[in-house]
């Protein structure tokens, strides 16, 4: 999370170009939305027992289980201008990169406002966004082969939320690329599709680079906040 915030800060200062970052978590982790109360949305006892760290994001939205072996997280920093000025339209545009990626994998995906992407009527991706003066950061998850048993155990979903979707369990509401393709796919396998999907959606050319020294240094400085109880338990 520190690295995502570093990208936002550095792009807002004009020190790095607009950037797409694709990554996986190790160990498996949970992120929670900026406004969520940690005990409401995470089974902390289960998380601690199973060595699953929990971290609060700087973005709103819901809690996400990031499976080390079954999920890809994307983050993107872009200048707030043109269509990206409007919050809802910016979600639509950036999420269309994921929709295109899933289509390239042979799946029929659909963006459902505010921030979801569904396949076969089930959520396969969720995104969250924050903004600074000139820059937005959007990050999100793509469920590739996530262990839904662990997801159900570590996340607490309000009864009202499940009821509103007409389901009783999380697994009735979410799906993964592997389930939809009916074959196992690894996070590494979907990364080229994501790059191509975002390239098409945004009409840009990506240049692959390793993290810069300034990105790494700022991310390290921010790490202290994301490790602190004060930040993660602020609500």
């Amino acid at each position: 999370m520190g690295f995502d915030e570093a990208l936002l800060v550095l792009r807002d200062r004009g020190e790095i170009p607009p950037t797409l970052r694709l990554y996986m978590w190790n160990p498996s982790s949970v992120t929670i939305g900026y406004f969520q109360r940690i005990r409401d949305v995470v089974n902390l006892e289960y998380a601690e027992e199973h060595g699953i760290p929990v971290v609060r994001r700087i973005t709103g939205g819901g809690a996400v289980y990031h499976d080390a072996y079954g999920e890809v997280t994307y983050s993107i920093v872009l200048d707030v201008k043109g269509v990206l000025t409007d919050v809802q339209e910016s979600y639509r545009l950036i999420c269309s990169g994921l929709v295109k990626a899933l289509e390239l994998m042979g799946l029929k995906a659909e963006f459902v406002p505010v921030n979801d992407i569904v396949v076969s009527g089930k959520k396969i991706s969720g995104s969250a966004q924050t903004r600074r003066r000139n820059t937005l950061l959007q990050h999100g998850t793509l469920l590739v082969s996530t262990d839904l048993n662990v997801m159900e155990k570590v996340l607490r979903v309000p009864r009202q939320k499940l009821e509103s979707h007409g389901v009783v369990r999380i697994r009735d509401r979410v799906t993964t690329v592997s389930i939809e393709k009916n074959k196992h796919m690894s996070p590494e396998e979907v990364i080229p599709y994501l790059i191509e999907g975002f390239r098409k959606a945004l009409g840009v050319r990506f240049v692959e680079e390793k993290p810069s020294l300034e990105e790494v240094e700022l991310a390290r400085r921010l790490e202290e906040k994301y490790r602190s109880r004060e930040w993660n338990f602020k609500r």
Partner: protein
Amino acid sequence: MVRVVKRSKAGKTLVVDVEFVGDRIAGIVISGDFFAYPEEVVEKLEEELRDKRVSEVGDVLKRHEGRVVLVGVTMNDIVEAIMDAYRVFQGS
């Protein structure tokens, strides 16, 4: 402390935890899976609502309308949730 959980029309969860003393708000936490830009405004809102009478809630939130973009919930959802919480408190 009274808790009210609401689902917004946009499909987001809004939770308000409110402590009332008479008709005043002694403390409030607004949480959920919604979005607000800038995020810090929600904390300022919670601070401003402290020690206010329930009858002042609408005016306090209205003052913030131009300072924040809410996505997934509306100011009206927050007002309604606080009013629901007050009704629960009165009935308890």
